[in-house]
Symmetry: D2
């Protein structure tokens, strides 16, 4: 385990002096910056920044950093106003708590669980939710609570209410849809927006159902997978990560599905890792990924 | 220049014995096969084959190979019937004659001309057509006839008639739309179907106009380019070749366009090369590429 | 499970008529070819072919196909002589039997076991051998025999004798070195040459030990992984498959190792799958991969 | 042309406050930062930074920025000492002046010239040097001075002296070895270290001569190209950019060479573009590329 760090993520309207003032906050209290990333979207007039510094030697106790930052920002007029400012502080040694949602396919589930166990993914996974009983044995093997919540058009509101309660009970920070073949309602997303989905195509190509069949029918020479934040508009959320693999006339639909699985695993795992390291900033329908 | 070869390309309804009988034709007349590729689309029930053999030592004179093959196929019952059989014979030392069509962007034109001149693309390029005068100097530098044919909705039928006449006059085998930002009419395609287009997206994503602007708006992490045969349905023709490049939040629309140019050049050049080597077989809306 | 097929793989000195005569063997007995691949290495004068046809409807019983082929080859003079002819017949419904060898890293082992269990890798895995006890629990979970065989310079000959005996006892067709961090002796390879290794670099770069550390030290912008057949010369065997991933100045050695694992998994799995589908032909130090 | 900017590149021993103090310099004089990139190599204890801000509105005249920065750094104790500090200021509207060195191959030369002319590469190219007369016509077409300087072991010192004089006369900032198949002496590199070379392999694989032939002999499944700064040790300099392309058993040495050319063009062009945008910082044998 490397030394614990604090990460400050900010997006706000662009103005002069932001890099200097934000870094000055860390320096004033003797913080040692290990990563500093900034991006300005000149078209949108938005500034995005991620500062990561070592907690060791930093002169503000953890539980007072947020209050101190607010004071500092006001005194130093870091922001012209707090209008449009979004910010977050996260310590690197407090793991994100993930709920993984699955249907019947297990390859992304296995992948995330094994990465977590090997230490490549620093997170806690206390909860698995599924609309099938199928993958319960995997949850049991890893000692993770498994909740079977079937969904029909009629029971969906009730099911989602139950799911939201579970996310609350388990103090979940992030839902990972690891081939959960159900659409979440706009109400759910509004109540719990921290949801990463893996879509088995290089969006926006083949948004919607059966992308591999449609990729085959179209005769493409490349297939892909896309990890994105779920939004009320299906397959339209901010894209985090994409990857592709070449295919040829020799590949049947079954081959596309098989090759696609390797993409899905890696793309989803990368997106989740980026999220729990606070490397993704979202604005509008876009992401800034400070990889 | 390697030894000249003959290439027989065939697509037909699948049946037993096709590989044996087609190869036997070459062997009977003492041909030395240098490449033999076959593919069966089990779903569609179609067999596709490409045989390439050295002309040296082959016992049939060039101008009688087609007739001899027809006789052989009938005697040996190679095909259950000629219904659905499409075949072609091409000698490798007779270059394809290409017409390159452009608008104002020159990067694909330069690329093709330089490849042709260096010997990496074995073809003749006697004709460049454009709806702008802009690129005439490049044509002149390479000693290629340049025809300026402006197109408006009103003049389009007349323009296409003129273009078809030019293709006939110059004995063109293949039209390469090297960033020719105009749509060809279904009538044109029907009259001259051998047309390769480069589309600046990984189709079917961002079919239609302004793909780079739309890719930027969507916030994708990968952009692509697609070479395909032009058909009456815009951007829906059989895909030959695709390639992609990663992009990030740092890339503006201008960066996507710049990065995309490198893809367009390479993807179009590969597709044209595959075509003039008779490595592409089309059936339905699909291609088999014996690369 | 698709319909069972027979695969005939051949490499031999090149001569006229091979494609025709080999395909004719299948056709004579009413076989329906589903894949036919050929390659001629003009420099080496070697012809390589892989024919796959459906067993259903084929008029020779399975256990007589080999003998019938030998007769056919002699009668039809398929080969000028049997000198230099290597051939193999394999039915698709008889699974390869794999032994997986590991040390302490488990990511490739998990990957292969899960692919096997999901049906993406058609093979039996009755045996795991390791020079550490570390991964025994995984073997037990999957109900696979686990043999712990420690290796020191002194015990190596004895250990290899024990290993060879195990391969014989378990009727192993293929050894997969899934991050087995030990070198096999030339004697072992001579006795059992069917061994696939995964090397964690894009060979021949960083052959030998600690490739990720050396890749970091060299400051490369791309890292890779290589699956190859093990030979007496370390890291010099015929390459089957390679893949790469970009890295940057932000990546530490630990990041290279983590990113490399994803490559190792996929590259090794692809190579093993190609092998058990008889898609790899080796000649000299090269492979022909009919993917 | 976008608004002109100033770029400050710095590498120095790491210490607290660097991000804040460097950004504060820009802010104090009302500069609007458009890009701010930092990297800390924790192992080497080195901090690297690139700040780019708009010149419009910046309150220091161009010709006084360097002096003002030195004063600021001393007053604010930005650096513990000037020992180990390397820094550079470049305005974006003053083009780098490139000399392109070639032998007989023209593909990289054409590529760079066309990119420069299209505006994708903002630079001046007043000088082409070659050890052959072969490519003089291209230089003439673009109106660029061409100097033919043959090199033999005996004449090399004299040739390099002449070359150094030319670089001085033409006020060259950067030498681009665009397939210049000659090794530069350590003395030359010491006198003029700003030299980018393109090597036709994914270094460190196949360093030295004839990489494509050796890649073929080794039977690799991927080939690559590497752009790096030239150093006294052949093919050992800091790597800037690498790219790869898959190859197969079907590819002859000629195919590798042809496919490699596409890599060489793109990789060299990217490296040169990164350099003239001051996006590359070198320390030890490594590069940080703020792409």
């Amino acid at each position: 385990m490397p030394m614990p760090t604090m990460t400050l993520s900010i997006s706000c309207p662009d103005q002069r002096g932001l890099v200097a003032k934000l870094a000055q906050f860390v320096y004033r209290y003797n913080g040692n910056i290990v990563h500093a990333d900034h991006h300005t979207d000149a078209v949108a007039g938005i500034f995005l920044s991620r500062l990561e510094w070592e907690l060791e030697g930093f002169e503000i106790p953890r539980d007072q950093i947020a209050a101190t930052f607010i004071n500092y920002a006001q005194q130093e007029k870091v922001f012209a106003s707090w209008q449009g400012v979004r910010w977050q502080l996260r310590a690197s040694d407090i793991p994100y708590r993930l709920a993984i949602w699955v249907s019947r396919q297990d390859h992304c589930l296995w992948d995330l669980l094994l990465r977590q166990r090997s230490g490549d993914l620093f997170a806690e996974i206390p909860l698995i939710i599924s609309n099938h009983e199928h993958l319960r044995p995997i949850a049991e093997q890893f000692g993770i609570d498994f909740h079977y919540i079937p969904v029909t058009p009629e029971t969906k509101p009730l099911a989602e209410a139950k799911e939201l309660q579970l996310l609350k009970d388990y103090q979940i920070d992030l839902v990972v849809l690891a081939k959960y073949m159900q659409v979440l309602s706009p109400e759910f997303i509004a109540a719990f927006p921290q949801v990463i989905n893996i879509h088995h195509s290089f969006l926006p190509a083949f948004a919607g159902a059966n992308p591999y069949h449609r990729a085959y029918a179209r005769g493409v020479k490349i297939i892909g997978a896309t990890a994105h934040y779920a939004t009320a508009d299906l397959d339209e959320g901010p894209i985090i990560e994409q990857a592709v693999v070449p295919v040829s006339h020799r590949d049947t639909v079954a081959d596309l599905i098989r090759k696609g699985k390797d993409l899905e695993r890696v793309v989803l795992a990368r997106a989740v890792r980026l999220h729990v390291q606070n490397r993704i900033l979202v604005y509008g329908n876009r992401t800034v990924v400070f990889a």
